[in-house]
């Protein structure tokens, strides 16, 4: 892992890249990371709003609903040490899995909301935005992964692994059984995970840029 000697380089566009090739790439990678992190933060914010709204209006019963999120099959580090101990490729893979696993459920959730008018218009728009964001964010993280692979930061064993497990997760019918509240609860947590994992990943790979 090469040492990045650049210090205090502003997080701007790639037009600054004049001197060394690697420095320029790292700058753009940090830039990419910032974008996906910002994107994930926004996604998490929306999911949080929706969850709070759901909790407020629908007052779910206090019965102990099993919080079996369909993504529980995906092994995710649940602590800082675990997250730091895990390999970068694995961490990236976890992120991608999560994002893929939520693509279909969120879409159906939105369809459900729009059809049955369970939410107001604002919330309906949020659910739509949420489902679209998952899609966009997954593409963004894929780009980041490709960039890292290009830079040699991570190995190339990422692609196949992620897709297989992800497909497995999305095909499970469990998510169809979840009610809306559970779905929102699970997604809120998973979006937080994604955001956190991305931050950890960034500060491990390009720590100089705002960590």
């Amino acid at each position: 892992m090469k040492q990045n000697d650049e210090k205090g380089v502003p997080m701007s566009s790639t037009s600054i890249c004049t001197n060394s090739q690697t420095g320029c790439h790292f700058l753009s990678l940090a830039n990419l990371f910032d974008r996906v992190i910002h994107h994930s933060a926004r996604m998490h914010g929306i999911s949080n709003d929706l969850h709070s709204e759901f909790e407020l209006y629908f007052l779910p019963s206090k019965n102990r609903v099993s919080r079996n999120c369909h993504t529980s099959t995906i092994l995710t580090p649940n602590g800082k040490e675990n997250a730091q101990r895990i390999a970068r490729e694995e961490l990236t893979e976890v992120i991608l899995k999560l994002l893929l696993a939520w693509r279909d459920p969120l879409w159906h959730f939105h369809q459900n909301m729009a059809r049955h008018h369970k939410f107001n218009n604002l919330s309906s728009n949020k659910s739509l935005e949420m489902s679209e964001m998952v899609h966009e964010l997954r593409k963004g993280v894929q780009k980041v992964a490709e960039k890292m692979q290009m830079l040699g930061i991570i190995s190339n064993s990422l692609g196949t692994l992620g897709s297989r497990e992800a497909l497995l997760a999305s095909d499970s019918p469990e998510w169809r059984l979840m009610n809306d509240y559970n779905l929102l609860y699970c997604f809120r947590r998973d979006s937080n995970k994604i955001q956190n994992y991305l931050k950890i990943l960034k500060c491990r790979i390009v720590p100089e840029h705002g960590c």
Binding site: K80, K199, K202
Partner: protein, 642 residues
């Protein structure tokens, strides 16, 4: 373990019985309330609860929790680290993104009490410690010092690895105030504060919050003293100056709009009032004759010894003229008035010459010089004056300047009207070809208006003719001097004219005025001077007035104007009171030539001798009138006209 528990129960039961026997009541414990769990760094967390009533018995509390989707009940691993009624979960026991179901149980001898379960996820209960190392420095690079506040994240919160992202907030207040000024600072760890009050102390505090969590407590107060500085805000002063100038200009424009330009001109440049007191004569000063200079100031004859007080008091001369003359005079007066009005609205009775227009002023000056020009040079100057119009003859005193002792007696019957003061406009209107007459009028008018100066005539000792020039009240005819009249045309200069310019007898009206047979217009003129050939200055004198002894010298100059001809001139009847001297101021040649005859006419026309002839025939008729030595123009009836 079980034995201990059994022992405790037995003991508690014994205690209960004892207490019951003692009469006290015990109850099971109340439920613990308000379970609050917090994590400072998202790696550990602590839960606190409020114990309910203990029921009078020793009560123990226990915390039990279950993790998500597991029925395994765990008890709190650490009751001590976080203090009383708390439970601390260390890193090994903490799982992020896992829901904890926590219950606190209070137990005493009589029963148990279960609190409500609380579900938490550590991610959402993060409340970091306050920021550390808050430093505030005063940056004084410029005229405007500012504060730079810097801090560090709390030690436990791991922001370097990206595990926690903190956002900060600071607040500041003056030492004496109560209200804080809050500034969100985002994720930065440095913040600048501007617009400080000089020479004051500030309190600064900082706190932080994770992106999904609770705000930390405010950090400890940091005190900072701002030094005293003077804000030299140049742009502020410039702005104030511009604004003030703008206001002043606005008010000036408003004020100007109210004032008319005409009024403004007179407000800014008021017309200089003319001199009301005639001071030193400039020419006298130039000549250096001091006694003449001061003669105008000396009132030696006061109180005047003459009995003719009314001579000196006269300021206005009324001219009693026949109708034609009156009409003429009225017309002339109207013309004068019109001219006056047209010329200058500010000319009034009280104004001297200077208060009128400069145009008038110049003409007046020209008249003054013409006065000088009118003064015949007794050494034989050939100056010829243009005679005045008959109206002016009637209206004014014509100073004959043969002798400086000419009496400035003014006929009572002749009153000077204010219109006489500025005869010049009338001149202009009439297009008189003889502007030099103007000077005469002024000479007269001045003397008339200032009766105080009249005594000077009386008191002057007989002096040479040259002295006469220095007398400001004499119409000095210094034909040589025209310094003040660059504008004087050729006409204004003394002209040797064949015509009798003395009286504008060209005009029929003029001739009527003089030759009116009606005796009413008894205008007596005193011949003051007869210039060479063509000019006679007539000085109207009050009829019936006899010259006093002091005036005896002057009486010799009086003669009656017999007639005024159109072309030929003026018939004068000489008074025989004093005898040999001629009443007519003539040039020396003329004097000599006419010394012989008693009565003679000062024929102004050099061409014909006829008038002389005619007059001689009429002499006897007027002899009795001649005694008074006046020239009575009005009584010239029956005289042949030419």
């Amino acid at each position: 373990m079980m034995r201990n528990v059994g022992g405790v129960i037995v003991l508690s039961l014994l205690l209960v019985f004892v207490q019951l026997a003692a009469g006290e009541s015990f109850s099971p414990p109340g439920t613990p309330k308000n379970i609050i769990c917090r994590s400072p760094e998202k790696e550990t967390f602590t839960c606190w609860w409020e114990p309910g009533s203990d029921g009078g018995l020793p009560t123990t509390y226990a915390l039990y929790y279950r993790k998500e989707n597991s029925d395994t009940v765990y008890e709190c691993p650490d009751y001590k680290t976080a203090g009383k009624n708390s439970c601390f979960f260390n890193k090994n026991d903490t799982s992020i993104w896992v829901t904890y179901n926590i219950t606190v149980v209070a137990t005493n001898a009589l029963g148990r009490a279960f609190s409500d379960p609380v579900e938490i996820d550590v991610v959402y209960i993060v409340m970091p410690n306050p920021p550390e190392e808050v430093t505030v420095t005063v940056i004084e690079d410029t005229n405007w010092p500012f504060l730079r506040v810097s801090w560090e994240p709390p030690e436990k919160a791991d922001t370097r690895s990206g595990w926690i992202t903190l956002i900060y907030e600071l607040r500041i207040k003056l030492e004496n105030e109560d209200e804080w000024e809050v500034h969100p600072a985002g994720q930065q760890k440095v913040f600048n504060i501007f617009s400080l009050r000089p020479d004051s102390t500030y309190h600064v505090q900082v706190r932080c919050k994770p992106d999904h969590g609770f705000w930390s407590e405010w950090s400890g107060t940091t005190f900072v003293k701002v030094p005293d500085y003077f804000p030299r805000e140049r742009s502020m002063w410039i702005l104030i100056a511009v604004f003030a100038a703008f206001i002043i200009l606005t008010f000036t424009f408003i004020w100007l709009s109210y004032m008319k330009i005409h009024n403004l001109k007179h407000y800014v440049l008021p017309p200089v009032p003319g001199p009301k007191i005639k001071g030193f004569d400039k020419k006298a000063l130039k000549n250096g004759k001091f006694e003449d200079i001061f003669s105008s100031l000396v009132v030696s004859d006061f109180p005047p010894t003459t009995s003719n007080y009314e001579d000196f008091i006269v300021e206005n001369l009324e001219v009693f003229v026949p109708e034609e003359q009156e009409l003429i005079m009225e017309d002339s007066k109207d013309l004068q008035d019109d001219s006056i009005k047209s010329e200058n609205s500010t000319c009034d009775n009280d104004s001297g010459r200077g208060s009128c227009d400069s145009h008038t002023l110049l003409i007046d000056k020209g008249g003054g010089d013409k006065e000088e020009a009118l003064q015949s040079d007794q050494e034989g100057s050939q100056d010829e004056r243009v005679p005045t119009s008959p109206e002016e003859v009637m209206e004014e005193d014509l100073l004959a300047c043969c002798d400086e002792k000419n009496s400035p007696d003014i006929s009572e019957k002749v009153k000077f009207t204010p219109s006489l003061i500025s005869p010049l406009p009338r001149y202009n209107l009439m297009n008189q070809p003889n502007p030099p007459e103007i000077g005469k009028k002024h000479c007269l008018s001045d003397s008339l208006l200032n009766p105080d100066s009249l005594p000077s005539y009386f008191t002057q000792p007989p002096s040479t003719k040259n002295d006469f020039r220095s007398n400001p009240w004499e119409c000095n005819f210094n034909h040589k001097q025209h310094p003040l009249h660059p504008q004087t045309t050729g006409k204004e200069h003394l002209q040797v004219q064949n015509e009798i310019s003395w009286v504008h007898v060209d005009r029929t009206e003029a001739s009527l005025g003089v030759q009116a047979p009606s005796v009413r217009s008894t205008e007596y003129v005193e011949v003051q001077r007869v210039s060479g050939g063509n000019m006679v200055l007539l000085h109207p004198v009050s009829a019936g007035q006899e010259n006093s002894g002091t005036m005896s010298h002057q009486t010799e100059h009086y003669s009656r104007v017999k007639t005024v001809n159109n072309d030929s001139g003026l018939l004068l009847l000489q008074k025989e009171s004093t005898g040999e001297e001629m009443g007519i101021c003539l040039s020396e040649e003329e004097v000599e030539s006419r010394a012989t005859s008693n009565g003679y006419t000062a024929s102004i026309t050099p061409t014909s001798e006829k008038p002389m002839v005619g007059i001689n025939s009429t002499l006897p008729i007027l002899d009795d009138r001649m005694a008074s030595g006046y020239v009575d123009t009005a009584t010239m009836f029956g005289l042949p006209t030419y």
